[in-house]
């Protein structure tokens, strides 16, 4: 079931230039998902040293703790809510949380990619997904 909230949608709005930051973020999240799926969740530990974003770092630690999906979502949403941001920082946080939930649920990479490109907005999501699909190593498909 899709929940929506008009105020939230307004806060997610940001400039196209800023949205270019989504591509490397989504790729990084897909890469973390690949590591978790192929090597196990504890293999994410060395990745923590390379992560600068506190929300992503905290989220990965919670994933490694095995926190249930529902609790993980609510805890990470609390971090976002109290930060009280809007625009690109808010959009970035939302994508990180969506990606972490997909990692925790051991989502198939193709499904995870579809969830994440939605944050580009309806007009750009398809093109972003096609771009990701051109990299078979990323989505675990291809020849």
């Amino acid at each position: 079931m899709i929940h929506w909230n008009a105020d939230l949608a307004r806060r997610l709005q940001c400039r196209d230039e800023e949205k270019k930051g989504l591509a490397p973020l989504i790729r990084r999240l897909l890469d973390l998902d690949r590591i978790a799926r192929t090597e196990g969740f504890q293999a994410l530990e060395p990745e923590l040293a390379t992560i600068g974003d506190p929300l992503l770092s905290i989220g990965l630690k919670l994933v490694m703790e095995g926190v249930s999906e529902e609790a993980l979502e609510e805890i990470l949403a609390t971090y976002i809510t109290v930060e009280d941001r809007s625009g690109w920082p808010f959009l970035k946080s939302c994508v990180i949380v969506e990606g972490l939930l997909a990692v925790a649920e051991a989502d198939d990479p193709a499904l995870m990619a579809r969830k994440l490109v939605a944050y580009y907005g309806a007009d750009k999501a398809t093109a972003a997904l096609e771009e990701l699909e051109r990299d078979p190593a990323l989505l675990g498909g291809g020849p």
Partner: protein, 365 residues
């Protein structure tokens, strides 16, 4: 879209950045108190009523009083929202944090989740502080309670999946935390131990305590249902080729090998054991010891100095149950090292012969 954000009040300006560090430190201490209550309430729900009467802090007293009066999660939320209306940012933060924590207590959540929920209100800089608090609490944890084994194939499936921990992990994640914990509530300690290794220390303790808690809350039928749900997920993952169940015959050891290896070890003197194990990796010794009877474990451990004993016990704690081939392989290697160490002394020929038989043991395909 993240449901909690849409359902919640994310669009309201919080002004929580204005809350001082001093106030946040005080709120962290309050979070610790609620977390302790969460732990206590699992074993004794009436403790919340007593806590409500004794509590001096208005926010927590109000929340506990609502719970004591029979409020459910929504009732708690509604009751607390009245207090939120005219509060300053610091008080609002406190009220929201306490409400979230007490909601977790009401839901019977593990105390580590209650702490994580509450610490999130204080921002990322309190995450590590919460981890340290939880680690310290875990150090003083209660002993385990008795296991309850519900008849079924769950323990065998967990053992088979554990041959490749990634497969076990995928099955646990795909089943969801609640189903996994409920299913494990009806499993022997060995199954819980195998799953615990998939998580970090805090997560492992939470899983073990969740399973122990659910063991006291769920009926045998409910646990069986959870196990059936888990097995269904395993079946569908296997069908999709995402996991492979190792055969039961791949686990454990041959009885003849265990008997012969145990006999050989018991014939070796303490000095040779000390010398051989001193240079052996803990993992090798721990793996080989999976092919020994308890009396041989005692013989090895009592031959070692304290520090070495601890090293080997730690390795045993960390070792996964392994396939037969790995155990026999490690046993052969340890036997070879014991022969080398024994040759330097005056080892009885019987001991050397027994060890040679282990060293040359044929590994069945």
């Amino acid at each position: 879209m993240i449901r909690s954000l849409c359902r919640g009040q994310a669009h309201r300006r919080k002004d929580y950045r204005k809350v001082t560090r001093q106030k946040k430190d005080a709120l962290f201490d309050l979070a610790g108190r609620v977390t302790l209550l969460a732990d206590k309430a699992r074993g004794s729900p009436s403790s919340l009523e007593r806590a409500a009467e004794a509590e001096k802090r208005k926010s927590l007293r109000s929340a506990l009083a609502l719970v004591a009066a029979g409020a459910d999660a929504d009732g708690l939320e509604r009751g607390m929202s009245g207090l939120l209306a005219e509060a300053d940012p610091g008080s609002r933060l406190e009220l929201e944090m306490v409400t979230a924590g007490v909601r977790g207590v009401l839901a019977g959540e593990h105390y580590s989740i209650v702490m994580r929920r509450m610490a999130a209100f204080l921002g990322p800089e309190y995450f590590d502080k919460a981890s340290a608090w939880l680690s310290e609490k875990a150090r003083r944890r209660r002993p385990r309670i008795e296991e309850l084994v519900v008849p079924g194939e769950m323990p065998d499936v967990v053992r088979a999946l554990a041959i490749n921990p990634r497969c076990l992990e995928l099955a646990i994640r795909a089943s969801g935390r609640a189903v996994s914990a409920a299913a494990l509530a009806g499993c022997p300690e060995e199954s819980v131990d195998l799953v615990k290794r998939l998580f970090d220390r805090i997560g492992a303790i939470a899983l073990e305590e969740d399973a122990a808690y659910l063991r006291t809350r769920l009926s045998g039928d409910e646990i069986s249902e959870a196990q059936a749900a888990f097995l269904e997920v395993v079946g569908s993952l296997e069908e999709r080729g995402e996991i492979r169940l190792g055969g039961e015959d791949e686990l454990g050891t041959e009885e003849t090998f265990v008997a012969a290896f145990t006999k050989a070890i018991l014939a070796v003197g303490p000095a040779a054991i000390r010398a051989a194990i001193k240079t052996a990796e803990g993992h090798l010794v721990a793996t080989a010891m999976q092919g020994l009877e308890p009396e041989a474990h005692d013989h090895i451990l009592s031959s070692l100095p304290k520090k070495e004993t601890k090293r080997i016990l730690d390795a045993i704690d960390e070792a996964d149950p392994l396939p037969r081939r790995a155990i026999v392989g490690a046993g052969r290697e340890l036997a070879a090292r014991l022969i080398a160490a024994s040759s330097r002394g005056a080892a009885p020929s019987l001991a050397l012969e027994s060890l040679a038989a282990i060293r040359d043991w044929a590994v069945q395909p």
